[in-house]
């Protein structure tokens, strides 16, 4: 075995080629690639979820099906795209009819809810390892339509930083279910982990007015970090301004903060927008019944300053989630 590069190093080192494209493209390395096909700009994303990695080994297959599509629709939402179609590649250790029935119902539920038809796919049997079934992996490629398209790279100094929903809930559910945190995983927290809501309508609303966006799959700080590094900016963030759910608020501040800032798996949107559209965003939030928190602003100077509700600096060492880092 050679040295073990991280997920981001893998992409940079091995898969960042410069082959000419007949279709104008941008946003490679973002949540979506934006590709101009004729006069239509599409957003395309590919995400794999795997039993044991993204789902607990005994996860309900209905929620597995729902979430497998939801995480891809979340990437489309981050680009401000309207979902149009998806393709499914399913690798299974065996073809258990009961599992497939529930999985396909969950997938169908998300596809119907977000008007995103399944247009093709592939089904593969994975091998047994020492008589044990290999984990199921589900790869979905989703395609949406945008006008301009949001990327991580357009933030301007002085923009507001916003986040949707109540980040940290999915992480809290995972910690409770695995016994890392003491306590019962209530049905609200469970639903945020099992059936995250891709913020598709929010993404489409933001597309003409926001300056940059990402979805929170790896943790708020890490995903904000992608926006800042792509945009060449820093930010001041008040963690105390992040909306917190009743269920998460019951836990001590240290646990809560880690869940909110580094938890990941929330599929909320973090985005930047000029101050001039603050009222429009607040009006959308009221109308949609969706919590949107204004949590800070970007600045010219690189680096991230994190404070708590009382204005004290938070010295955090969490780095968000990297699939190939051994300390996760």
């Amino acid at each position: 075995m050679g040295p073990r590069p991280s997920e981001f190093e893998i992409i940079d080192r091995y898969f960042s080629w410069a082959l000419p494209s007949k279709w104008h493209t941008q946003g490679i390395g973002d949540d979506c690639a934006l590709v101009d096909i004729g006069a239509t700009r599409v957003a395309v994303t590919t995400d794999t979820t795997a039993i044991g990695t993204h789902y607990l080994p005994d996860a309900d297959p209905l929620t597995v099906g729902y979430k497998a599509l939801a995480v891809n629709l979340s990437d489309l939402a981050a680009a401000g795209a309207a979902p149009r179609a998806f393709f499914l590649a399913l690798s299974l250790p065996s073809s258990n009819a009961e599992w497939l029935d529930a999985f396909s119902r969950g997938l169908h539920e998300a596809a119907t809810q977000f008007s995103c038809p399944l247009l093709g796919g592939d089904t593969t049997k994975t091998v047994m390892v020492n008589g044990e079934a290999a984990a199921a992996t589900i790869t979905i490629t989703a395609i949406g339509e945008v006008c301009r398209g949001l990327t991580r790279g357009g933030a301007q100094a002085g923009d507001d930083v916003w986040v949707s929903g109540t980040p940290g809930d999915a992480y809290a559910a995972l910690m409770l279910r695995t016994g890392t945190w003491q306590g019962l995983c209530d049905s609200y927290l469970a639903s945020r982990m099992d059936k995250p809501t891709p913020r598709v309508a929010l993404g489409q609303f933001l597309e003409p007015i926001a300056s940059a966006a990402a979805d929170i799959s790896d943790g708020l700080i890490q995903d904000l970090g992608h926006i800042l590094s792509r945009s060449g900016l820093g930010a001041e963030i008040n963690a105390g301004a992040i909306a917190v759910s009743e269920s998460l608020a019951k836990f001590p501040q240290e646990k809560r903060l880690k869940a909110q800032l580094a938890g990941g798996d929330d599929y909320e949107l973090i985005f930047t927008a000029p101050k001039s559209v603050r009222n429009d965003i607040e009006a959308f939030a009221r109308q949609a019944g969706l919590v949107l928190s204004r949590i800070g602003q970007t600045k010219k100077e690189m680096g991230l300053t994190l404070t708590d509700a009382d204005g004290r600096i938070i010295h955090e060492t969490w780095s968000g989630f990297d699939h190939f880092k051994s300390d996760n």
Copy 2:
């Protein structure tokens, strides 16, 4: 465990929904879906290949990278599409730098050869099972551009049936490497298994003149069967007319025929075309230096009649490859 449906039953039973699509589509269940995005018709395909299923456990990662893209480009070829872009989802048990380096070089070789840039992707770590690494799976979604697009569904009674190359070579290589056949796997046969040639130029040539096409991933008879069932036709096929490589010709007729007719993994094209374009097809074959065999014709009456070089009926019981059939 419930009953175990086959790969085709899985698709029919669980994933054949009728959700409305904003983009006009056809060919769902074919090698590619054809999707109209604005004035541009694209062909989209998703294929997973897995170590241990599509590659031997000790496969050279360079050939794994090449083949992972080649099999998707072969689907684009079957639709008559010009490759435009692909997306990669890689599920790995660990991030071995040596493996990734060779894999990415193989992938890059195929991408460069067929002018198909990588526009996005996802890297996921799969779990260990009982301390053993789970198999690596590679899912690629490839997008090409077509005018009309070929599907499996357009064959007419009385069309010629053609096949490219020398089918059976990849299967022979597999049989020899696994010791199922006695003998040495020569470098020619090995190359047909490890680095199959997607028939991209042939597909684009055929697009305006052929009536139906499929690539041979599951075996000539099974893939021809897809064309016949989609087109509502039968066929008479002379197996003796299928071009055979020098390497495969050394094996007894029974082995050879099974490899040619049911072998799969060849990624040659099987297609139907009216008699009126016979000369055009032969001229293309000469110019491209590619063997094209005219192996029979379609007929109104359902069913497939297979004969050998002497006109004797072949009673074969092979059904081609089904990932979830236990007898494979």
